[in-house]
């Protein structure tokens, strides 16, 4: 799966879960600081991403200030290891 495909999938999830405009969901955006997605809402995003991409993501991979790009890389890393 390409970075673009994962990015698009996350944008759809963020729109659904957090009401973000897909245009603002860029790889360098921080969930907490730029997208108003706090740590609890991020748990919901991660669980939705796990279901969408069929992966299991460790919560340790995502810290305060994590970006959309960090989550994309986590998903890619898990997918590559399969």
């Amino acid at each position: 799966m390409t970075t673009e495909e994962i990015h698009e999938g996350l944008a759809a999830i963020l729109q659904e879960v957090a009401g973000n405009d897909p245009a603002e969901i860029q790889l360098d955006k921080s969930f907490a600081n730029d997208l108003d997605v706090d740590s609890l809402l991020l748990v919901e995003v991660v669980v939705a991403a796990e279901e969408r991409f069929g992966v299991s993501i460790s919560e340790d991979d995502l810290k305060e200030g994590s970006t959309v790009g960090d989550l994309v890389r986590s998903i890619q890393g898990v997918l590559a290891a399969v």
Partner: protein
């Protein structure tokens, strides 16, 4: 006989909000009541084929985005969405702003009987089917009965006391009455008070059916709720919310607030008799009626309108009639008594709140809403306001709520006179 009382802070109502099966604002709700419109329909939001009761009064065409951001409504139960929406309307109507000085003096008290029924069943089903990972991060907050109060406080920055009183079908009235005390005793200057429930769910309908409390007139929804009619066969489950802005009177006058009425009395009691059936002589109901009248410092003969609990169950309507007869004596045959549940169904925790709002409007408009479907009255000497609204000069109105577990609560509102 009037005892001497210490002066106490007066409490006025400066705004209201309603989300109901017959209107998504106070104005729409009141118009429907006066027109005698029923909100009862066949349930279409979930499978009812195996339920003895297949009808209810649900909130329809409600769009939460009009009142709150997506991430707020997604994390809370429908009952809390209705409460927040009603609070938004009430605060706008009261033209009140919660600045830094006022915020610590603003309380929130939102009663509910069943609370977040939908969230609770989703959690259970999700846990069984998918395991703990599927239990969402906001579940702890959203599956609690105080979640409506918490979200309202968060929205408006209300930093005084907050919470949820739960007294079954009396919760809305209890919330308003207890909130009045907060202002009277000086704990708050303003309280957003009311009730909310969304109990039109498979589990709540099934449990109320098992308690033999619901009407089974499935083929005739609009005639199913018949308070005080001899052919009544149970109540109709309904969803909704009602919120009032209660405010200390002098403060409301200073800021030139739109004062709708004064909240003058509250009485509460408990039957301590049976989990669902009322006391056979309505002892607890009488006690609450008398307590509210004493609190309002008025004689029963001064009451101009009673918004009855009037659920359309065999027992409630008979015993409420008996209690009114006992407490009001001769005046019982003169005072108009109506059940607006005949149109709204029974909104459980929201009922007392929206019915208090109906009582306020009866005072302001000089008209009392009808009891629809009351064709063959329980007591032929009482004026149950059958079928159509009636013109009456109303200075003092009473709103009754009697719940399962024997919870009784009565509120009294009065035309505002400085």
């Amino acid at each position: 006989m009037r005892a001497e009382h210490a002066p106490r802070r007066r409490v006025v109502i400066t705004g209201s909000g309603v989300i109901s099966p017959i209107g998504l604002s106070t104005a729409a709700f009141w118009d429907s009541l006066l027109a005698g419109r029923s909100g009862i329909r066949r349930i279409e939001s979930f499978d009812v084929s195996d339920l003895p009761t297949q009808i209810a009064a649900q909130v329809r065409d409600f769009d939460p985005e009009q009142y709150m951001p997506r991430k707020v409504w997604r994390r809370i139960d429908p009952f809390a969405r209705y409460a927040l929406a009603a609070a938004v309307e009430a605060v706008e109507a009261a033209k009140i702003e919660f600045d830094e000085e006022l915020a610590p003096r603003v309380g929130v008290q939102i009663g509910s009987g069943y609370g977040p029924s939908t969230v609770q069943s989703q959690v259970t089903l999700g846990l069984l089917e998918h395991g703990p990972r599927r239990v969402g991060p906001f579940t702890s907050a959203a599956s609690a009965i105080d979640s409506a109060a918490g979200e309202i406080a968060l929205r408006f920055g209300a930093k005084g006391p907050s919470g949820a009183i739960s007294t079954a079908c009396a919760s809305g009235t209890s919330a308003i009455g207890e909130a009045m005390r907060w202002i009277q005793y000086g704990a708050c200057d303003v309280v957003l008070a009311g009730g909310a429930d969304d109990s039109v769910t498979r589990s709540d309908i099934a449990s109320a059916c098992s308690a033999r409390a619901l009407s089974r007139r499935n083929d005739d929804p609009e005639n199913a709720c018949r308070p005080f009619d001899k052919e009544r066969d149970g109540f109709i489950m309904a969803s909704g919310a009602g919120v009032l802005v209660l405010e200390e009177a002098e403060r409301a006058m200073r800021r030139g607030a739109p004062i709708l009425a004064e909240l003058v009395g509250y009485g509460a009691s408990t039957d301590a008799y049976h989990p669902t059936a009322p006391h056979p002589e309505g002892a607890g109901a009488q006690q609450a009626l008398r307590a509210a009248l004493a609190d309002a410092r008025i004689d029963p003969s001064e009451v101009d309108y009673i918004n009855a609990h009037g659920t359309s169950t065999t027992l409630n309507d008979r015993i409420e009639t008996l209690a009114i007869r006992k407490v009001f004596g001769d005046h019982a045959t003169r005072v108009p008594i109506s059940s607006t549940k005949s149109m709204t169904g029974h909104m459980i925790g929201a009922a007392g709140a929206v019915e208090a709002i109906a009582a306020v409007h009866a005072i302001r408009d000089g008209v009392v809403p009808p009891t629809v479907n009351c064709f063959d009255p329980e007591d032929t000497e009482l004026n149950y306001v059958p079928h159509t609204a009636q013109q009456h000069k109303v200075e003092i109105a009473m709103s009754n709520s009697f719940g399962f577990a024997g919870h009784n609560a009565v509120a009294i509102v009065r035309a505002w006179k400085p």
